[in-house]
Symmetry: C2
Subunit: 450 residues, 2 copies
């Protein structure tokens, strides 16, 4: 019988013994050489994602209890993680530079915008199309010239094309932050939300055109020539031509695609086919130089019109229902990663603060003007203006491209169009516009009645 | 009024115009220089994931209609994609080597095993613990010695430690394939499934120990010494000591973790905290040299015992419900990526086919013996044996480690323990064991009554 008792003890503890593996960071370090790596994923990524998710949910919860949007909490969680000097395992630096975590973050914002597209109604968006177009145009022109002027005032020694480039970094609204706040507040169905989202899509297109033209002009100037008007027209025509061709083909293909998918019976076909379309259009958008999220948003808008009644057992949970868990995990990764990139030490460079303050004001004020351009009556114009403020990753990407372009300055010395000081200024502008939008928008959408 | 008609036309087409972006692969190539890259994600990944998902669902559907498990279809979809010589965009090679796609695949199998752990019942698994342990031990010993013998027969000139290493590649069952088939068939609740899953976890641990010991012996031999028994004991004691320490800490921490999470109100807290635990334990498992999926399976088993009644609005959809969409997207990515790695040209090397056939038979026969060791009566022992067959990525990883270890052969020439020919043999063994398991297991679980 003792063997039976022993057997029982072993039984009770055996699986448990092999079952709970984790829990001891320090012990792990001491035995990490015991075996080989399994598979292609760095184990650090698993730990990093776990830390990001826990931090996002904890700080997000704190902000929600303070009456702030949880997305702001996620940004702050990222800032805290990114600026912790004594960050144990492998350091925050690895979180910032890891390519897989960056990819998960980008997939997160792509899926978020796909979700926002699904919740937006194409017909209702078309109804505010003219307003969105006007808001976008005004919202590109004003910040562009304001930024140009600010740059001319603060760095007069740089070449004029450098000033123009800084103006270009202020053009495109970062749709992710605004979309998330509107979504969390359940305001995606309002006219204001439709105008903001439509305008943000259009101003990304306009921003891309400006970037292409200014970059072309700088490359021409660097080789001692100037950009001909015909080149500008060609750049613009190529991108717009691609968009139109994409539309025509997309309108034919998507209904067939889903008519085919309707015949499938396997698990998860609806989600897989929808996400494939989302990823495909994101890829196509990036191929014409647009942000992938614009393609994802567009894919969501198209699918909103397609019906899936006879798809499979999972149909009773519709697509938005299936997407929700995916996006509730990946979208916070994006916002934490955006926060990670915020190096608080740029705020400690007093020589840049004047320029940064002026550029940030230009970014904010420039977009407030655009709300006047909306045609509909009874709009909450303040919310439209506030919703267009965040520049997020698009501004950073523009600045990053500027850092790779060389140009002779007023003294004829060849320099990058965006040097490290100017880059810091753009980063501050991006941080401030990103951080003020969630609380400002929440306040204006909930409180003001104008 | 013409301006109004024009306005109407613009209105109708404006948003549509900026909305459908994709659809034209060739056009995209011609304008890809127009703008800059947005963000850190290579756009190719988006296209690659879209292609993988569509291929997985199409071929999976075909196989299901033929009465085969869809996972086999996903493997075949990967083999087709990976061996298409005329594969348009950027080639299949990029799909195989892209680090982000590899990471998504690994996250897919991690989440799948987490899901399987959640569906498994810890108490019921403990009830078959002794059987699982015995099945695992027999299922490691027989293939190990059979593989050793086969290697000794076919490559007698290699060093004995090389033969032993090949035996080691046959030890560990790849739990992913079997778990997926059992899950798709709704058989996770059977005693056979519990024994297979328990034994697969344990034989990964045993396989890891054998790998560590054999690798240690090879390193010692390469430096002209032999491995002392005390070193073997230290290697084993370290890993097992870590497991026990992990258990004790895990049992204390997890209930507190979820008691804390219960107080949160934000969106997706349940899923985020659960996945964080899953990723954390996967990371911890990899730190002691186990496959991350073992940690994920363990995390699922633990959480099965924790209750979340008061968590948030989403509680009515329990955790399995929230995980289902995530895993229905990522798990197929894993199986397609496994298929991608299958280079069909290894089958065209006749000089290896004898060795490969013998090693594959050793792998299959060796695991059939283990089913006799299960104690319970009335078991479908054939299914247990068949379920233990697939070696999958664990065998490939062992072979990959062998390729980095150097050893003098019988003539005293220093060579890698696993050279490219032997690696090809191991790859064939992995392919065949992976491909035959789904249909064999489906047939034996559904059909046989023995």
């Amino acid at each position: 019988m003792t063997s039976c008792v022993l057997g029982e003890m072993i039984k009770r503890n055996l699986i448990t013994l092999f079952v709970i593996i984790g829990g001891t960071l320090w012990l792990a370090e001491t035995v990490s050489a015991a075996g080989g790596e399994h598979g292609g994923l760095e184990p650090f990524v698993l730990l990093g994602v776990a830390v990001i998710l826990v931090a996002a949910k904890i700080v997000g919860e704190v902000f929600e209890r303070l009456g702030q949007p949880s997305v702001l909490g996620e940004l702050v969680a990222g800032i805290i993680l990114g600026n912790l000097v004594l960050f144990g395992f492998s350091g925050a630096e690895a979180l910032k530079t890891n390519v897989v975590i960056a990819a998960l973050a980008e997939l997160g914002v792509i899926i978020l915008l796909f979700e926002v597209g699904l919740e937006s109604n194409l017909k209702e968006m078309k109804a505010v199309g003219i307003s969105a177009m006007l808001v976008a145009i005004v919202g590109v022109i004003f910040p562009f010239f304001l930024g140009w002027g600010v740059a001319r005032f603060f760095i007069p020694d740089e070449a004029t094309l450098g000033h123009i480039f800084i103006g270009a970094t202020l053009c495109a609204t970062s749709i992710g932050i605004t979309a998330r706040v509107l979504k969390d507040m359940g305001k995606l169905g309002t006219n204001e939300a439709r105008i903001i989202l439509g305008a943000a899509v259009i101003d990304d297109v306009l921003g891309m055109l400006i970037l292409a033209v200014v970059s072309g002009a700088i490359k021409a100037a660097a080789s001692g020539t100037t950009l001909a008007v015909v080149d500008v027209v060609i750049i613009a025509a190529k991108a717009i031509g691609f968009l139109i061709a994409g539309i025509l083909l997309g309108q034919f293909i998507v209904p067939y695609l889903f008519r085919g998918a309707n015949r499938f019976t396997g698990r998860g076909v609806l989600l897989a086919v929808s996400l494939s379309l989302c990823f495909f259009m994101s890829w196509a958008a990036s191929k014409v130089g647009l942000a992938p999220i614009i393609g994802a948003f567009a894919a969501g808008l198209i699918l909103d019109e397609v019906h899936f009644e006879h798809l499979d057992d999972h149909t009773k949970h519709d697509l938005e229902h299936l997407l929700s868990p995916v996006s509730s995990i990946l979208a916070p990764v994006f916002f934490v990663v955006v926060g990670l990139k915020v190096d608080l030490s740029v705020f400690a460079r007093p020589e840049l603060l004047g320029f940064a303050t002026a550029l940030t004001l230009a970014a904010i004020v420039g977009k407030q003007v655009c709300s006047v351009a909306a045609l509909e009556k009874g709009l909450n114009r303040l919310s439209i203006g506030l919703g267009m403020i965040p520049r997020g990753e698009v501004g950073l990407i523009f600045a990053g491209i500027g850092a790779t372009l060389m140009l002779p300055d007023a003294q004829g010395v060849t320099q990058p169009v965006i040097n490290s000081a100017t880059f810091g200024v753009v980063v501050i502008m991006v941080i401030v516009t990103t951080l003020i939008t969630p609380p400002a928008l929440k306040w204006s959408m909930a409180g003001s009645k104008r």
